[in-house]
């Protein structure tokens, strides 16, 4: 596939995603989905931890990891910020604002802003920790175990970008009998989270997390868009495969792929509408 086709496809993809995002938002706003999001047990623990934090007057620990705005994992940082916003807000009755930690310096202003905006309670002492630095930051993990460990948070909500160093944090949390929810957009971190955390989300579920925690219909719209795209991708792959296997056409030629993309889009949209109607 030549560069031009790739670029055209990319633009098409971005445009279609934009349209889908807006449509899903509006649609969701009007009637709401009759289908529900599949249950994810991890989210059910959060309110309990939140209550515990309020009662014990300890800060919850919310961690961004190395998710950073302005960098390649901006999307993760945004999804995190959204999730943390809801958690902080729901935790506002307590005396101690949650401790946020990050290893990406650009996230510090974001985290500060999040606490300021979402924390409706008293004090409002900003409790944002930065430890050096970046991806796979053992300094960060060690900092969390040593410094934030001193604050004895009842639970750690580690939703962001972590590498294998997550193991250190989870181990120390377990040792101090603190709850943990972990998810990472890095696979090594994800694997460690799966093996060692009390609760775990898998990969993409992070991006749908705001929808779960807030119960906000509009947040769920993103999950729907991802579902639609995923279905479309699956259709696309299958179609490309069938065409390729048939070997009748000089497949992977640019125009053909565009045709396939458009057909796939239309098909997907139709299928989707039908399923909604039902």
């Amino acid at each position: 596939m030549d560069v031009t086709t790739q670029q055209l496809l990319s633009v098409l993809f971005v445009f279609a995603t934009a349209v889908l995002v807006l449509t899903a938002r509006i649609w969701q706003w009007r009637g709401g989905s009759r289908r529900t999001l599949r249950p994810v047990s991890a989210f059910e623990r959060i309110p309990g931890w939140s209550s515990q934090a309020i009662e014990a007057d300890r800060p919850l620990h919310l961690a961004f990891g190395s998710a950073s705005i302005g960098e390649d994992n901006t999307a993760t940082a945004l999804a995190n910020a959204e999730l943390f916003h809801h958690i902080i807000e729901k935790n506002s009755a307590g005396d101690t604002p949650p401790a946020l930690s990050t290893s990406a310096p650009t996230t510090v202003p974001l985290a500060n802003a999040k606490v300021a905006a979402a924390w409706l309670g008293a004090g409002g002492i900003r409790n944002v920790h930065w430890y050096p630095q970046g991806k796979r930051a053992l300094g960060y993990a060690a900092g969390v175990t040593a410094v934030i460990g001193d604050d004895a948070p009842p639970a750690h909500i580690l939703a962001g970008s972590f590498g294998a160093e997550l193991g250190l944090i989870l181990d120390s949390a377990r040792r101090n009998q603190q709850g943990t929810l972990a998810v990472s957009d890095q696979l090594a971190g994800q694997a460690v989270a799966y093996a060692m955390a009390d609760e775990t989300l898998i990969g993409e579920e992070l991006f749908a997390a705001p929808a779960y925690v807030s119960g906000d219909a509009r947040a769920a719209a993103d999950a729907i868009v991802m579902d639609v795209w995923r279905a479309l991708l699956m259709i696309l792959i299958t179609m490309a495969l069938v065409l390729g296997m048939a070997g009748q056409l000089p497949w992977l030629s640019g125009p053909l792929l565009v045709v396939v993309a458009v057909v796939g889009l239309v098909l997907g949209a139709i299928l989707w509408t039908i399923r909604r109607r039902r």
């Binding site: 706003w29 309020i54 796979r136 009842p154």
Partner: protein, 662 residues
């Protein structure tokens, strides 16, 4: 706004008043409620945590009823089941009204007051307010609505009362975790036995091979990459195909934490490139790796200098400024390569004939995480034309990287971990296995052969006087703009058979370093620096002898002010006759380049690439060899220990689970 939690957040209108049924006998106050919440959570923790149930001594079955029992029922009435089925304390605090406010202790009063003050902020202001425009007010359900009217049924009330009776006496035990009881603290601080066993097992097994060679199980890796690992073979072949003067972008993407695993691979790959006459551009998006890369390259350079091979900062290798912002920095590199290279060299005009990724022969990535691999694949590879990417990764990044190598066209070779490093080293030794002392000129395939003992380590000073062709790449798109002499210009005065005295100047200015300039005036651009004690060969002086024209150790000519130096004479033999002296002198000059002095200009030169191939191979031989074999055996033992620990631990757990169920 149909927010499923909004009902929880909405305070009841008469919330601050004592409720009608708020008699003293009804103990369902905040104080009663909160400890229960806590205790219930604790009993619901995994059963393997023995201490978890301690605080919940009264954690009878009865406790599990209560709030959680009736909450789902509340939810069901709403017909919009939500995944999160536990309530937030904030909501409860706001909704509590059964107990007179005055009975609460201060902290609870404060908590409650605050929770009432909290209004759910609604901040959705979309771009152009699409939602707002398209949504009629009728569709926006008011919060509160149905739910605020829900009360407890009689049965529920009875249950709750019963519960309150049971746990009532313990209600005041709500404590901060910080104030744990002594016994509990002691129990907490005791090392967890299974964990301690695991650690001991692991450490013991890993340590055994270092103690005695009896514990050395398993075969060492083969001397050549096996044919069933085509990606490793491709990696070696790719690097081996370099020809002199090729540029390779080497991305060093690992922190010190992975240094023990990846340093060996980085070191070998760099030596391989140098041995093939290639030039290295180092890049990293990790600040600590930036410093570490300096150390790696410096150690290679120092060792190489001992063999008379000069590797020169700025020509043979260049460490690009650290790229901030991960993928973003890499994107910036692929868009503005020339610019970053220029900045990395300070403001010295340079002969570096590269201005984009396309001038690279290949990209080589050393990374310890799949994320970094993804970043380079996503941000650099699409911009690199037809250049291929080779990768050396840690074991942890392997599974994902393999998915990439298999899936992406120009991602070609991959070597992984310490085992690969062992094999790689063996292969390099085999390829460049010529003893540097007895190098045969016949193997020289790239440069004009220097027939007179030029292969001897340390003798490159003599070689450099010979006009060998500069192996600069010729196919570079942009003409090199070098306002300064090329490295091949007469460097040190040509050695003659008769010993003669060489005119030198020694830098004596107390203010060190001093500038070496392009011309005899302080208005001229700075070419390099000289430090107190440096000696420089004099070629000429200007008319009034206020400036010396000198030759720098790299062969470049420059001017230095007479004010800062003292003139002298040395026997010329010292500069090229005695090997050890010349090496020592060489190293002392080299040490001026170490460490890099950021932002300052430094002389840059290249001679390594004019040294015959056979001698360049010495750079591979000159590496330090650690206890690689022992470490590999320790790795094997450690793996065995890990398997044992994991298998046994899980077996016990599985049996435990079965017993509990049966």
């Amino acid at each position: 706004m149909n927010d499923d939690y909004s009902w929880l957040e909405e305070p009841q209108p008469d919330a601050s008043q004592p409720a009608a049924g708020g008699s003293v006998g009804q103990r369902r106050g905040l104080r009663r409620f909160l400890p229960r919440l806590r205790r219930r959570r604790q009993t619901s923790q995994p059963a393997d945590q023995p201490d978890a149930s301690q605080t919940g001594a009264g954690g009878s079955v009865g406790q599990r009823r209560g709030l959680r029992r009736f909450l789902p029922r509340l939810r069901r009435r709403r017909q919009a089941p939500q995944p999160a089925d536990q309530p937030y304390a904030t909501a409860f605090l706001g909704g509590q009204s059964e107990r007179p406010l005055t009975e609460l202790d201060q902290r609870l009063q404060a908590l409650r007051a605050r929770s009432l003050a909290i209004e759910h902020k609604e901040e959705w202001q979309e771009l152009y307010d699409v939602d707002q425009a398209l949504t009629s007010p009728a569709l926006q359900e008011k919060p509160g609505g149905v739910i605020s009217a829900v009360a407890l049924s009689q049965a529920q009330q009875a249950q709750v009362d019963l519960l309150t009776e049971i746990v009532g006496g313990q209600a005041d035990t709500a404590q901060r975790p910080a104030k744990r009881g002594l016994v509990q603290r002691a129990a907490l601080s005791l090392p967890n036995i299974p964990r301690l066993l695991t650690s001991a097992l692991l450490l013991l097994f890993v340590a055994l091979p270092f103690v005695s060679s009896d514990y050395a199980p398993g075969a060492l890796p083969p001397a050549e990459f096996a044919a069933d690992d085509p990606q490793a073979v491709a990696f070696y072949a790719g690097l081996d195909s370099l020809s002199p003067g090729d540029y390779v972008l080497v991305a060093v993407e690992y922190g010190l934490g992975a240094a023990a695993e990846l340093d060996a691979l980085t070191d070998l790959a760099l030596r391989h490139i140098f041995a093939r006459g290639g030039r290295v551009i180092l890049a990293t998006s990790n600040p600590i790796a930036y410093l570490h890369a300096q150390n790696i390259i410096d150690s290679i350079r120092v060792r190489a200098a001992q063999a008379g091979l000069r590797l020169v900062d700025g020509l043979d290798y260049l460490l690009l400024n650290y790229l901030p912002g991960g993928g973003l920095g890499i994107r910036e590199l692929s868009e503005n390569f020339a610019d970053i290279a220029r900045r990395s060299m300070g403001d010295t005009p340079t002969s570096l004939p590269i201005d984009s990724l396309l001038d690279m022969k290949m990209l080589l990535l050393v990374a310890d995480s799949a994320e970094d691999v993804r970043n380079w694949v996503e941000q650099a590879l699409p911009e690199a034309g037809t250049r291929r990417l080779y990768a050396a990764t840690s074991l942890s990044a392997e599974p994902l990287t393999r998915a990439y190598v298999a899936g992406i066209d120009r991602f070609d070779g991959l070597v992984v971990g310490l085992r690969a490093a062992y094999t790689y080293g063996a292969m390099l030794d085999a390829t460049f296995g010529i003893d540097p002392q007895t190098a045969a000129p016949a193997t020289d395939d790239s440069v004009a052969t220097a027939p007179t003992g030029g292969e001897e380590p340390g003798a490159s000073n003599a070689v450099e006087a010979k006009p060998s062709p500069t192996p600069l790449p010729t196919a570079t798109p942009r003409p090199t703009h070098t306002p300064m002499p090329l490295p091949t210009n007469t460097a040190v005065p040509t050695p003659t058979s008769t010993p003669a005295m060489l005119r030198i100047v020694e830098v004596t200015s107390p203010q060190s370093p001093v500038n070496i300039r392009v011309g005899p005036s302080t208005a001229q651009a700075t070419l390099g620096l000289a430090y107190k004690g440096d000696t420089l060969a004099v070629l000429d002086t200007n008319a009034d002898s206020s400036w010396y024209k000198i030759v720098m150790s790299n062969g470049w000519e420059g001017w230095i002010s007479a004010i800062v130096v003292t003139e002298g004479l040395v026997p010329e033999t010292a500069s090229n006759g005695d090997d050890s002296a010349s090496i020592a002198r060489e190293r002392s000059v080299m040490s001026r380049f170490y460490p890099r002095r950021y932002g300052k200009t430094e002389p840059r030169f290249s001679q390594a690439n004019q040294v015959p191939f056979s001698t360049r191979g010495a750079i591979v031989q000159l590496r330090e060899r650690g206890a690689e074999a022992q470490r590999l055996q320790a790795l094997t033992m450690g793996t065995v220990a890990a398997v044992l620990a994991i298998a046994l631990g899980n077996l016990v757990a599985a049996i435990g689970a079965l017993v509990r169920r049966g």
